[in-house]
């Protein structure tokens, strides 16, 4: 499994500590904002900008080094392993929220709706607190938390979004084939299509959210249904944004003539990330919208 070319070891890394400082400032600012402090938003903004600038400079450095041929095959493998396991960690992050959804639907709601559903000592919650509550999904709980709402159907915008993302997965792969076959035109066209579909997806989701909040009464505060719906689709939407931005950078670099069939880790990493986002969406479509 090991490979043994000369290994490129960078000798000074200025950006990591700066990016960390920016991130810390941003999070401290966010925490201050949540606590109602007036300096919060400013800190957040400064921290976020610092983080962005540092990341930008760091990635610029990496791409310059890559284009000047400093990375051997072995370095490329290290990078790919890094990306692969990073995506795995993201899968586990989404797993926590999918797990919460599964638990709510299969354990906590049936438990609250029927005292006979489980034999544990907590069964009296239903009898004493909410004897009228019935376990029907979707629900905002026995307390009707967040008021009346309408559940999001699967075959409106969500279905269109599914098609958009699936198509973008195809165009991304088409672009990759273009890169491997040295057809730069195909590479660029494929990437333009992928990025456009990605941003179109985000736009559709923004419309969906707008309708949920303003016409359906469905908000983040609509009990466990609203919580799981918005947290799952929201984190996914955030990842689509990040993925689309990454692919935009790749598109920009492709325009500048970067990447060869042998050396294009950044493209592969972005494509992997995009497919990961795609797969998570399929999970969402099935478990959040369909079932």
């Amino acid at each position: 499994m090991s490979t043994h070319d000369a290994y490129y070891i960078p000798h000074k890394a200025v950006w990591p500590i700066m990016a960390t400082a920016g991130l810390m400032l941003m999070l401290a600012g966010f925490a201050n904002y949540l606590n109602g402090s007036s300096i919060g938003p400013g800190m957040m903004l400064v921290g976020f900008l610092a983080f962005l600038v540092m990341l930008g400079l760091w990635f610029t450095l990496q791409s310059k080094e890559s284009e000047s041929g400093m990375y051997s095959h072995q370095v490329g493998i290290s990078y790919r392993m890094g990306m692969m396991w990073f995506i795995y960690s993201e899968v586990m992050f989404f797993g926590a929220f999918f797990g919460a959804l599964w638990y709510a639907r299969n354990i906590s709601i049936p438990h609250l709706g029927d005292s006979g559903a489980f034999s544990g000592p907590g069964r009296s919650t239903h009898d004493i607190l909410w004897p009228a509550f019935q376990a029907i999904w979707p629900t905002n709980g026995p307390g009707n938390v967040g008021g009346d709402y309408e559940a999001m159907g699967a075959f409106g915008l969500p279905f269109i979004n599914t098609m958009l993302l699936l198509t973008s997965g195809v165009t991304c792969t088409w672009a990759h084939h273009g890169l491997l076959a040295k057809k730069r035109d195909q590479l660029i066209k494929g990437l333009i299509a992928t990025v456009s579909l990605g941003f179109l997806f985000v736009t559709c989701q923004a419309i969906e959210y707008y309708e949920a909040y303003h016409e359906m009464g469905l908000t983040l505060g609509s009990g466990i249904y609203g919580s799981t719906f918005f947290m799952l689709t929201g984190f996914h939407g955030f990842h689509v944004c990040v993925g689309a931005i990454i692919l935009s950078v790749i598109l920009f670099r492709s325009w500048r003539g970067h990447f060869t069939p042998e050396n294009h880790f950044a493209f592969e990493a972005a494509a992997w990330y995009w497919h990961f986002v795609d797969v998570v969406w399929l999970g969402l479509f099935v478990f959040v919208y369909l079932l």
Partner: protein, 538 residues
């Protein structure tokens, strides 16, 4: 291939003989040894910060009644002590050892992703800073316990979002560190260093890294749900909205149980490295050690609810988690017997690292047995949230993880610094630690069995005697650790003055590549992959 390597070396020899000068060396470094050193020093500092909190707890508990601190602050201390020790001391110390030793043990020039390595360390510092800042906030530091159970934790004051974001940063730091370890081990091994020839420290860290990548994001998700429940009206843990506080406990312990193995698996690795050297025998049952580590890691994912036996699980759940938990005793037993068999008829000598390692085998076994007691659901109803559990996990962490970290310090200090530590003071440190740690934690078993609950600042009069004994042990243990600081500083400044050989310990070069390079290890160890002698495993 060799030609390419040589060219690479020439290029760098003119520019980079050694480290840069000044503070910037440390801020911007990508060198695995520098970063390892920073991790180790940071964790040693945090060990004393967390230790001070522990002494505040034990001072308050020295006798019944409220003496020194108010109950709110006491609860903050139990919470922060745990967070600092877990995320600030033990985990970073093992990451530090991984950084220093893994590249040297597998014949790699450095870690696979050196820039990310730098970021991983600074993210740790940033996370701990956010966490520590809560000590000075309105409403005090988090005080609902390190497990952050809702709904109690939702009553935290201004500290709440800071604690959540601190956990996020610490999680990112751990994930980056773990990814780096995996990429290094899979991609940077010298030719001939097959997986089943790797030292066990490398193996245990590889498995630990997989645990970390799988669990830290889950913890991040759990605390994110706490944050949104508190600030954004979600109902994950609120029954009125259809959620369930017990859901949090499930998610948390899905993280939390593997997390405790994150702290113990590298401990096993170091013990398996040190014991053979001083027994002058190859490790007994190398392959079974690897498989046992894998088995423990696998089991750690399917036993989490044994932390929740009293929460109201269905009987089937209680039974499943009880039996699954009891299974862990089997691979753990394999390890204990292997260490014992390694020492059997060995030509043993008892230098400080070996003393700590032997104490680890004995005392960890004790901690393991109390764990087995609590894996039995009906018995756990009695022990749950009592001082018995406090005694149990401190036996698995202090005379196990911390003792082995001390052993690792003594074992590798001569390689790191090129000087020999003072063996007499080392042995004094060991004996003081080994005696006081038992005075500290053994009585807590009695307190728990007699019914003293954990996390309380005051207690009924019948618990007074053993609490006093425990507190005396705590202060003895705490202050004897200062000897270690003295020894580290003294060794860096020349130690006994005796120049150590490359091998340092008699016969050690048979046991690991790190003993074939000069002492102190050069700033860049292997610019060309070393020859790995294809012998049977040592």
């Amino acid at each position: 291939m060799t030609a390419v390597v040589a060219e690479h070396d020439d290029h760098h020899d003119h520019h980079d003989h050694g480290p840069e000068k000044g503070v910037l060396r440390w801020l911007f470094t990508t060198n695995h040894k520098d970063i390892g050193t920073m991790y180790l020093v940071f964790s040693l500092i945090m060990f004393f910060v967390g230790g001070t909190m522990a002494l505040i707890i034990r001072a308050e508990l020295f006798e019944p009644g409220l003496q020194f601190v108010d109950p709110q602050f006491f609860n903050s201390m139990t919470t922060m002590h745990a967070l600092v020790m877990v995320f600030g001391a033990v985990m970073p110390a093992f990451v530090g050892l991984a950084n220093w030793m893994i590249p040297m043990m597998i014949g790699a020039p450095d870690m696979a992703l050196p820039r990310m390595n730098n970021m991983s360390f600074w993210m740790l510092v940033a996370g701990i800073l956010l966490m520590a800042s809560t000590l000075f906030m309105e409403g005090g530091a988090p005080s609902a316990g390190w497990t952050f159970y809702p709904p109690l934790v939702l009553q935290t004051g201004n500290a709440m979002p800071f604690a959540v974001f601190a956990v996020h940063m610490l999680g990112v730091s751990s994930i980056m560190g773990a990814i780096n370890v995996i990429a290094t081990i899979f991609n940077m091994r010298a030719p001939g260093m097959t997986l089943m020839k790797m030292p066990l420290f490398v193996w245990t860290w590889l498995i630990t890294a997989f645990l970390l990548i799988a669990i830290m994001p889950v913890f991040a998700g759990a605390v994110t749900m706490l944050l949104t429940d508190r600030f954004f009206d979600t109902s994950f843990f609120d029954a009125a909205g259809g959620g369930d506080p017990v859901l949090y406990q499930h998610i948390f312990w899905f993280f939390g149980h593997p997390e405790v193995y994150v702290m113990i698996l590298p401990t096993f690795g170091v013990a398996s490295t040190i014991i053979p050297v001083f027994a002058r025998k190859p490790l007994f049952g190398y392959a079974s050690m690897v498989y046992a580590t894998g088995a423990i890691a696998f089991l750690s994912f399917i036993v989490w609810s044994h932390h929740m036996f009293t929460v109201g699980l269905p009987v089937a759940g209680e039974l499943y988690f009880m039996y699954a938990t009891m299974l862990i005793a089997i691979p753990t037993g394999v390890k204990i017997f292997n260490w014992t068999a390694t020492m059997w008829k060995g030509a043993m000598t008892f230098e400080t690292p070996m003393l700590f390692s032997i104490a680890f085998v004995v005392l960890f076994t004790l901690g393991g047995f109390t764990g087995l007691m609590m894996s039995l659901a009906p018995l756990d109803f009695q022990y749950h949230d009592s001082y018995f559990i406090v005694a149990h996990f401190h036996y698995t962490l202090v005379p196990a993880s911390v003792f082995i970290l001390m052993a690792a310090g003594y074992y590798w200090l001569p390689k790191w610094t090129g000087h020999m530590y003072n063996e007499k003071i080392g042995q004094l440190h060991f004996w003081l630690s080994a005696v006081s740690v038992n005075i500290l934690f053994f009585p807590q078993h009695f307190l728990g069995l007699a019914g003293m609950p954990r996390r309380i600042p005051d207690y009924a009069i019948q618990f007074a005697d053993w609490n006093m004994v425990s507190s005396i042990g705590a202060f003895m243990y705490g202050f004897s650790q200062l000897l270690f600081v003295y020894i580290v500083i003294d060794t860096i400044r020349g130690g006994t003055g005796e120049k150590v050989t490359d091998e340092v310990w008699e016969g050690a070069s048979k046991h690991g590549l790190e003993w074939t390079v000069p002492s102190p290890a050069p700033y860049h160890t292997f610019s060309t992959p070393p020859e790995v002698i294809p012998t049977e495993h040592f």
